[in-house]
Symmetry: C2
């Protein structure tokens, strides 16, 4: 802001004040005394160096001033922390629902709507317990998650059922782990079948659950 916006060069001109000796006894003796002069010098250099190092680690620098360096470092740390938090959260989301796929600009809406459901908590205890989750994420789009027992041909059966129900599959993800299957999918009702009030979510869920439970 003000003047001296750059670090002054350490002038190091020994400008030791020359004041003549006096005959006082409480007077501040200034002939030449330096108990810790050089130590202090080293300390200052050290701090200066650290500050420059800090500055070099911070991408944006508003001012060369000491306080500004520290201030910028603080804001940068804040940004980094926020970044880590966001990335970490997104990573967890992806680990728990790997079928999240960018498609249109409605992506953000989809995500936030997912958040409002208690999907994440439920997902953690995905034992062998059979479960079907279905929620609307767009005009004709739905998000679907099925956990069930690992059975031969169950995926083919799932595909058949989706075709029967008139769902077009936008994206789908299947994962098997220790005898269980997890299916995540975004689906879309075929245009001809869209009759205003759309699908009965509960009914469809029950149907899917029943099909998954039935033995081949």
């Amino acid at each position: 802001m003000g003047g001296g916006s750059i670090f002054q060069e350490p002038v190091r001109i020994s400008r030791r004040r020359q004041v003549r000796r006096e005959k006082e006894e409480d007077e501040v003796d200034e002939n030449f005394k330096s108990p810790n002069l050089e130590a202090e010098r080293r300390r200052r250099e050290k701090l200066h160096g650290r500050l420059m190092a800090l500055r070099s680690h911070v991408p944006i620098v508003t001012n060369m001033t000491k306080a500004s360096i520290v201030e910028d470092a603080i804001t940068y740390i804040g940004e980094l922390q926020k970044n880590v938090e966001n990335l970490s959260e997104r990573l967890h989301e992806m680990e728990e629902a790997p079928c999240e796929i960018a498609e249109e600009e409605t992506d953000q809406i989809i995500k936030s709507e997912h958040e409002t459901l208690d999907v994440k908590e439920e997902m953690k205890k995905l034992g062998i317990e059979e479960k079907v989750q279905l929620c609307k994420i767009g005009e004709r789009k739905f998000w679907l998650k099925i956990t069930t027992e690992k059975k031969a041909g169950i995926f083919t059966k799932f595909m058949e059922v989706m075709r029967f129900l008139g769902f077009e599959i936008i994206d789908i993800s299947l994962t098997t782990s220790s005898g269980a299957i997890l299916i995540c999918s975004s689906v879309q009702i075929l245009q001809g079948l869209c009759d205003g009030d759309s699908v009965d979510l509960e009914q469809t869920k029950e149907f899917l659950l029943e099909v998954m439970r039935s033995n081949p």
Copy 2:
């Protein structure tokens, strides 16, 4: 680490040196002069406050000393940057190959082997161009990626082919986007079919490509 390991309290005792006036002309006049005394005081307080704020933003603090605060901040920023980089990388990996699933301890190996391939670059320009990528990621496990044109029933056909080839599907992900389909999958050869020298990668790739190209 030595003495004064805590910031001294600003004592503010006006210990203005009382030196009697002299009759010299170049002498440093020390009656009481303070052109910018208070401004300097404010500046120091400011820096002090910033440093304390910086300290409060850094979780681990080895020492209360000024230089240490800055030093710790630097190392912390380094950690955060590394963290962001790692998370970002992992996130991109997941976005590009969402079928990565924790199953055994071989997970790390799978990841690194994926990296050695030029999968990532190729994935970015996934036009409509048909492509099949297949690589071995374990004793009996393979990683598979197919990009092709969006055609009705192609996914069912894919499932049939995999069954025909004797591949058990561990996890699979399908994504559609503007007329194209992307399939990522980890598959495993059924135990009975594992005959030492395993599968011919090139041959299987060609076969898959041909099937994908053929019209239904």
